[in-house]
Symmetry: C2
Subunit: 503 residues, 2 copies
């Protein structure tokens, strides 16, 4: 491996008051830095000219030190390409510096916050974020209009100026906020103006900011059961008490929520396309939810994460658009409709809360890079966004159709399917009591990424099943993947021994 | 103004069961959407072809509706460029939808969190983030190697693939983390490996995550007095109790801190170049601070925000590099050494805390975009970063020299200057009791951006003065700006009436 912190000047200085010769001081410093692991094999060292200039000495002592380090094998030269820390240094030379640091005794124990333990421990669930069938959150990467996108990037990159390099507006770039407001009013019936829109790095950050503006430690909040775990984490970290409220084919069961916790401070909902069940909240439930919020003084946080894709039936306007009392915080993201690594989302904020949202956001982070905000604004304004949505709706409609057909054909009555009317995932429930988590681990070993439905529940009972993302799965890959899934389900449970081997 | 949410399909559907003709339904929807302000003048409407396809109807009713809307002046055509909502709609047609929303009665009051009021109210201080002399945080925008940078951007943009479009690693791109680790070990004597480095959006976010991992509500924390207000906000929002500890020419006065609050949970310091005073923490103080942390079980948060630029004396290694007990959280940013809108920073985390930092970060936000992480990694690896630092050090050295000379010549003994050995700002104290805030407001009206020193204090007494950033101020602009400043100081206090006029 070639690693080179090319030409970074090391942090050392010459001491002219000690009797040690200059070249010896330089030699000693390099040797010590290498032996202590501060400089690593393969790193490039600065040129003798640059180092001499930096140290304010003539080049001769630096050349002397370099020669000696080369001769002793600490340095190596590459023809035509500078001087490097030698790759073949004996192992025992390299005492990795960071290792022993932590083994030393801590005189007083280091205290950490109680609140960070509110979060569940980090698990490296293999089904999250891998690429391949049926990873959730994947978009059709191959269909993204890279040419158009690259042209916009090149244009903005060439047109850099002090304004684009300096801190941008905390609330987000005006051009993007206007484009989003136009889009949301037209396509989502959201009642908003550009001045109510704050650009954030993700819907996750929008949730996080909302939690800190709206709730206190111990505030009860309704969450969908099953629901999206990462969203719940933002509430947990904020000290909220989660109240799981069951969802069915009409979305969150508002009556059940009122029975369980009538004075909750908020409800977190995905009304357009419930995650993970895939249902759309009925108009009756929407009105009931809004009325409850109005009567009890609660907030509604609407996470409209993949509202753009609906394959049957009329489009569903946002819940926010029905609200006459500024009770709804509307959250959207570009992760699904463009691509996840863009890291751009937005939140529509009731006007009287704008300064609170801004103050909290500013204390956390000064807003996402302006560069991609400007690129996305142009992408929308120039019509590429509308075209892309229309094109992708067809792509996903085909993928969804193929998936439903495969599931019907291969899995038939052994599973129950839901959520195939919209979005980029559907859900199947296992009708026996197999462990979906164990199957998911085995599937991961075969590059099949199954998000176990049971992990989306907060409380018992946890229905087993899988959340199947098809956004990144071309039609041709669907049938073979479902066949694999059938075999995995049929193979039944796996022993703990085997599971350990796989993990 | 031309605004066009080009070709976004509106959220409406055709009802075939009502007796209203299709073209009338389409006409009615558009008219209502325009009158209610959901569609705004200048927005482009979808083509008749696209809308017909979307609605699943023939083009004729859509054409009929369009003709009528055009005839009645709701729509306007542009030659060669589609159909738009008419610009010249009479004012009374446009009932901005969002306005009346908030005026309706809230049946139950909407409760917000107590904790968000822990933050000071948002002020639109004009001296923050404006471009021109002497805005703090500005870099020499004109000296940034845009050519090289654009080439790297173009390369990465052309080489997009599913891996680069999908969610990246939460902890950050490995290439960048390795490049940073090499750089920090070499140039800053930080003891670290790439696996301890987490990429964040800013040093602000690094502080925010640290606060949530390390401290609980009510945890006392030493902060520098004077210090950086935005950093304090992260601690305030996290419920910490701030203990101001005075700084002098040797950095934070550790003995004073121990006297005021011996059992603080942490100290937040800027040892390389104190913000705003500009002093470098002495070795004695560093050792005293580390020993206190070791004895009391406290943490040290080292914000090394502009360590790259030092003009006199030997380079100062990091405090983290002196620490043998994993007590230091080391925070760095690319905002000063590259440019602020990049929104990339990093934090070096003791190994045993890695999973806590990751869990908190994941609940807040899934990490900054991978794109610029990869660009910066290449920029470092290919040697541009080292070259840029060396070049900028000369640029800033000249600007600093010109500024010191101007201050000496123009302001002379009426001010006391500090912090001219390093970084991108220096500080002058006013020796009379002028109000620095009032002068700063008057200066802003003349495009001179003076950050009042008094606002950097948490408690009384608050010395008046100015933090003068020279990073973005070319040598030729310095003398005229200081002359302006002299006139402003001489003009003395401003009446409240005048101040109101300026604000």
């Amino acid at each position: 491996m070639t690693r080179a912190a090319s030409g970074i000047i090391p942090v050392f200085s010459i001491d002219r008051l000690v009797p040690t010769a200059l070249h010896r001081q330089i030699y000693n410093w390099y040797r010590k830095a290498i032996m202590e692991g501060m400089l690593r094999p393969g790193e490039q060292v600065p040129s003798t000219r640059a180092l001499a200039k930096e140290l304010g000495v003539s080049r001769f002592p630096v050349l002397d030190a370099h020669s000696q380090l080369l001769a002793e094998g600490y340095f190596e030269s590459r023809t035509g390409g500078g001087t490097f820390i030698c790759h073949s240094l004996p192992e025992h030379f390299m005492q990795c510096a960071a290792g022993p640091r932590l083994t030393s005794v801590h005189k007083s124990p280091r205290k950490i916050a109680g609140r960070s333990s509110l979060l569940p421990p980090l698990e490296s669930s293999p089904w999250v974020r891998e690429i391949g069938p049926f990873g959730v959150g994947q978009v059709a990467f191959d269909e993204f209009p890279i040419q158009v996108w690259s042209k916009l990037i090149a244009w903005h990159s060439r047109n850099t100026n002090p304004l684009t390099l300096h801190y941008g507006e905390q609330i987000g770039a005006m051009g993007l906020r206007e484009a989003i407001a136009d889009y949301l009013r037209t396509a989502r019936s959201v009642r908003c103006d550009a001045d109510q829109i704050m650009i954030v790095s993700s819907s996750q950050q929008a949730l996080e900011i909302s939690v800190r503006v709206l709730f206190d430690f111990g505030s009860p909040v309704w969450v969908e059961e099953p629901g999206y775990g990462l969203a719940r984490d933002a509430f947990l970290l904020g000290g909220c008490r989660l109240v799981p409220v069951p969802v069915d084919q009409d979305g969150m069961n508002v009556e059940a929520g009122i029975k369980r916790c009538p004075h909750a401070r908020a409800a977190l909902v995905t009304p357009s396309h419930q995650f993970p069940v895939g249902s759309t909240m009925s108009v009756e439930r929407r009105i009931r939810l809004l009325n409850w919020a109005q009567e009890s003084g609660a907030w509604i946080i609407e996470d409209d994460y993949d509202c753009e894709y609906r394959y049957n039936g009329p489009p569903t306007p946002s819940l926010q658009g029905l609200d006459a009392n500024a009770r709804v915080i509307y959250i959207g993201t570009f992760s699904k409709v463009l691509f996840p690594s863009l890291r751009l989302g937005y939140v529509v904020i009731p006007r009287d809360l704008l300064s609170r949202f801004l103050a909290v956001h500013r204390a956390m982070d000064l807003g996402p890079p302006a560069f991609f905000q400007n690129v996305v604004a142009d992408f929308i304004r120039e019509g590429h966004f509308g075209r892309h949505i229309r094109k992708m709706r067809n792509v996903y409609r085909h993928r969804m159709g193929a998936l439903v057909k495969s599931i019907d054909g291969e899995l038939g009555s052994s599973v129950e399917m839901s959520g195939s009317e919209a979005g980029m995932h559907l859900t199947i429930r296992l009708l026996n009591d197999e462990s979906d988590v164990e199957i998911a681990y085995r599937a991961a070993a075969e590059n099949l990424w199954l998000w176990p439905l049971s992990t989306a529940y907060l409380a018992e009972p946890k229905s087993p099943g899988f959340i199947l993302g098809f956004g990144g799965t071309p039609v041709a890959s669907i049938q073979p993947a479902i066949c694999k899934l059938r075999a995995l389900i049929a193979a039944g449970k796996i022993s703990h021994r085997d599971k350990r081997l796989i993990c």
